[in-house]
Symmetry: C2
Subunit: 222 residues, 2 copies
């Protein structure tokens, strides 16, 4: 059995389509064409069609795609068609915001446990989950069997937490701490870094400003 | 004057290098070679050299790069070598987490104002900033002149907030709400979507699991 691995940028676009489709679905839209997707996501209609062609035929020529069909197909590709347990480490503001996020259920992710190292938090509730001592993580995950972990702790604690998650059986980590984490092969880490996003925006802002300047110059507006 | 626009994936990698360099700098490392960067970021040494070559010569052949030099050069490329004002909308858990984030100053971003629509929050402090009524945003930003806005409000409010930011003069928006936002040309929006990150991880997890299965099969381990 051979599997083609899907490149990460394609995965990212697929999940962007999924978000757009969910939004269209809520609006009661039943069918879309690739130009609707372009309007909704900013990803070109051609790129959208190319991404889907990778997985075989989807749409009806000249008509478009059924929103609910397309959602299901993409969910299947992304393996979102099954329940997935997630453990969250960090019950601070960020952890609270993440736990309260309404999108989990929709995508069949379930935060099954929350851990922290702050004794004043341990035993209290974060929404409907009891905050557990992070030192119990490895042991506790024998029961939960979560393969996905989220790190929402300060940078100085992030590597320790990653180590605990990995020893506890977690295979993929979403890291919100501004730290570069080390992990053995076979463990996948994705870093969410606000500052990196802002750095990109900072450059794009300067681009926009220079365009405005160029338009104002006689020679620039060509 | 011609400018080559830097593709977004390159910008993203540049900010990843910057993060790695900051981490090495804290550890007291003075010089790095491209393989150090690979170890630190997971981005290949060849890709790193290619990215830098885009901006001219940086390193010393056979020796490597001065960490502090390289940081400054990349900061300059990303236009992080100047103070930048940011307005934050949303003083909930996520907004609080973002405002408390220690990386702002380091990258010369300054959150100058926080807005919310919740009357029980308006007038109170979020860290050292007074939470202002979101209806004052457009007027208030005449003084702040912030070009960067962060949206940390529920999805249902996000488009309204984006509209206010844009009318108020904001040019680039970092959107944390799980909503697809519409904006006129010339406005740059970047969406930070946790669920999208998890969707990517979900697929990568299934890949890892299938690799383990394949290794267990006699024909799979080649």
């Amino acid at each position: 059995m051979t599997r083609k691995e899907i490149p990460v940028p394609t995965l990212e676009r697929l999940s962007t389509y999924l978000r757009a489709l969910a939004s269209l679905d809520i609006q009661g839209v039943e069918m879309v064409c690739s130009s609707n997707i372009e309007a909704e996501t900013g990803i070109s209609a051609a790129q959208f069609r190319k991404d889907l062609s990778y997985f075989g035929e989807f749409g009806k020529p000249g008509i478009g795609y059924y929103v609910s069909d397309l959602q299901k197909r993409i969910e299947k590709i992304l393996k979102l068609d099954r329940e997935q347990s997630v453990v969250l480490v960090g019950a601070g503001n960020l952890g609270s915001a993440l736990a309260a996020f309404p999108g989990w259920k929709q995508h069949r992710f379930s935060i099954v446990a929350v851990f922290d190292n702050n004794v004043s938090k341990i035993g209290r509730k974060l929404w409907d989950l009891e905050i557990q001592d992070v030192r119990e993580l490895v042991h506790a995950n024998r029961d939960y069997q979560a393969k996905i972990g989220i790190i929402a702790v300060p940078a100085t604690e992030a590597q320790n937490v990653a180590n605990l998650l990995i020893v506890g059986g977690v295979k993929v980590i979403l890291n919100f701490a501004p730290a570069t984490l080390r992990a053995p092969q076979g463990i996948v880490i994705r870093n969410v870094c606000f500052i990196q996003e802002l750095a990109v925006l900072s450059y794009l802002l300067s681009e926009e400003e220079s365009k405005i300047e160029n338009v104002a110059l006689p020679s620039g507006n060509k």
